[in-house]
């Protein structure tokens, strides 16, 4: 194990990209996050090597966090822990965790913390590092803003609906649903027995047209009561409009009668 030195930088980035992909960030991002950070110490980046070849890297930053009024402690926030795929399974995370512990004590660190996925927390942070999750009020709120992302989500939804056995009978001929979601360009969700696609709306006549507010798209992920309120509110306010619904319902009835 060795501390950061400028010559290690390309290797560190290579290891990070091998673990997290290029979306992790570029050299400029790495430098901002680590070596250019105020208070950075070379011992904040540990590189593990095997036969002089860097195979894993481990990053931390020491911050003062507030626990309560008048209680501020030094916390080592750790992450960007990456191991080359062929070096995994050799206990490197525990070795690196133990390696930095005495040094962190000498730097006045009281607690060690990390951010992870739930899966990583269960399999590494909790079982190998003995970490625990404090009670948090932080929630993540997410909303789609671009037509491209909306099309992606609708296509995912279409795929999930398409594979249902009943849908297979229903989709013996293609079904085109034109969706006019408030705040977005109209799009066509085309479902066939073998595929689902969502594209900007064309000039052809769709089987079904639905105009709706964006919040209605999220109703399936809300609690049943909140979802019902959202749907009712949208309908009462006239923000939901359909065309071709009866025709599609008849088509559904015919599909049900025709059997498999």
């Amino acid at each position: 194990m060795r501390d950061y030195a400028a010559d290690l930088e390309p290797h560190i980035l290579k290891i990070l990209h091998a673990s997290f992909g290029a979306k992790w960030g570029d050299a400029e991002f790495w430098r901002w996050k680590h070596s250019s950070r105020p208070g950075f110490s070379p011992s904040d980046v540990v590189v593990c090597a095997a036969a002089d070849r860097p195979i894993a890297c481990f990053h931390l930053t020491i911050r003062t966090i507030r626990l309560a009024p008048g209680v501020e402690i030094r916390c080592s926030v750790e992450g960007d822990f990456a191991i080359e795929p062929d070096a995994r399974g050799a206990g490197i995370p525990q070795k690196a965790y133990r390696y930095v512990s005495p040094r962190l004590v000498s730097r006045g660190v009281v607690v060690r913390a990390g951010f992870s996925s739930r899966d990583l927390f269960e399999h590494v942070y909790k079982s190998k590092f003995g970490h625990r999750m404090p009670p948090t009020v932080t929630a993540q709120y997410r909303k789609i803003l671009s037509d491209r992302a909306l099309h992606g989500k609708l296509q995912e939804f279409g795929e999930a609906a398409r594979v249902h056995p009943w849908s297979q009978r229903f989709l013996r001929s293609p079904l085109t649903v034109r969706l006019k979601v408030e705040g977005f360009q109209p799009c066509d969700l085309v479902l066939t027995a073998t595929a689902a696609s969502c594209t900007p709306s064309g000039t052809g006549r769709p089987d079904l047209t639905i105009k709706m507010p964006y919040v209605l798209l999220t109703a399936a992920r809300l609690s049943p009561f909140r979802a019902m309120l959202t749907v009712l509110e949208s309908m009462i306010c006239g923000r939901v409009r359909t065309a071709g619904l009866i025709r599609v319902m008849f088509r559904g009835l015919r599909a049900r009668r025709s059997g498999p």
Binding site: E28, W32, P38, E72, E78, R98, V110, A113, S117, S146
Partner: protein, 265 residues
């Protein structure tokens, strides 16, 4: 509503610290820390830092990260409810407008769900609530943590029959054990001593637990009774359980945790 201008740092830092005050786990802002964590972050420009200003006072502030994640979002907690609700909506709208201008696919907020006005405004705007990334921690130096808590809470310490308490610690799943035995002396001055190498120490109240249980007890809101029930804590003699419970209840961090996105790693 306007974008950041040099010289706004002090007001942004003051507002952020006020908004985060009820929570545990955040980094108290300084101008230097804010400049690094937000202003100098790659992909962020002054137009991505939005301020709500009225009568020369900054009432709201938000910063938009390059992947569409909202790094910080604060609206003056002392504003009247109606005014604050309106400011929150304005700030959300401005962030969405900026994100659309930058052709981001979406927006992600990591905010305290306990802020009811913000939670309502985001849900009403069509935001879906998801579980955030896990933030987890372990106690590296239990002596220093207990010392800080004891000193900060000394005015609240209850009158106890015991004058000292001994913690016998084992590592549990934690890979590093700095001290195996700590003495909490309450009189004359509260202090915590490492007595790992001592064989002769006060026995009037001895607690036995591992570092994970200590983390849960002091930082995660888990109670003494809960740990006793799960046999993760042993208190000797049993007659001292009420005394130990009173002391640990005062020392434990009770605030809920909130880590703003800009403090992420």
């Amino acid at each position: 509503m306007r974008a950041y201008r040099p010289g706004d740092e002090g007001a942004i830092v003051e507002l952020s610290n006020r908004c985060l005050a009820p929570f545990a786990g955040w980094v108290p802002r300084t101008v230097d820390y804010w400049r690094w964590s937000t202003l100098q972050r790659p992909g962020i420009g002054p137009l991505d830092i939005l301020l709500l200003e009225s009568g020369g006072k900054i009432l709201g502030y938000a910063a938009l990260g390059r992947d569409g994640s909202v790094l910080d979002f604060c609206v003056d907690p002392e504003q009247p409810v109606r005014g604050r609700r309106s400011l929150i909506k304005q700030l959300i709208g401005a962030l969405e407008e900026r994100a659309r201008a930058l052709q981001y696919d979406g927006l992600t907020f990591s905010e305290p769900a306990s802020d009811r006005l913000l939670d309502e405004a985001l849900r009403a705007s069509g935001y879906l609530v998801e579980l955030p990334h896990c933030f987890s921690l372990g106690v590296l130096n239990p002596q220093a943590l207990l010392q800080q808590l004891l000193l900060a809470r000394r005015a609240e310490l209850p009158r106890l029959e015991i004058s000292s308490l001994v913690l016998e610690l084992s590592p549990g799943a934690y890979p590093f054990l700095l001290s195996s035995r700590l003495l909490l002396q309450l009189e004359p001055q509260p202090q915590v001593r490492d007595i790992s190498d001592s064989t002769d120490y006060p026995q009037e109240c001895v607690l036995r637990l591992d570092l994970c249980a200590l983390t849960e007890l002091l930082l995660c809101g888990v109670t003494v009774d809960s740990l006793l029930r799960q046999s993760q804590l042993e208190i000797r003699p049993v007659s001292r359980v009420p005394e130990a419970r009173k002391l640990l209840d005062v020392l434990a961090v009770r605030a809920r945790w909130h880590i703003p996105r800009s403090d992420g790693f």
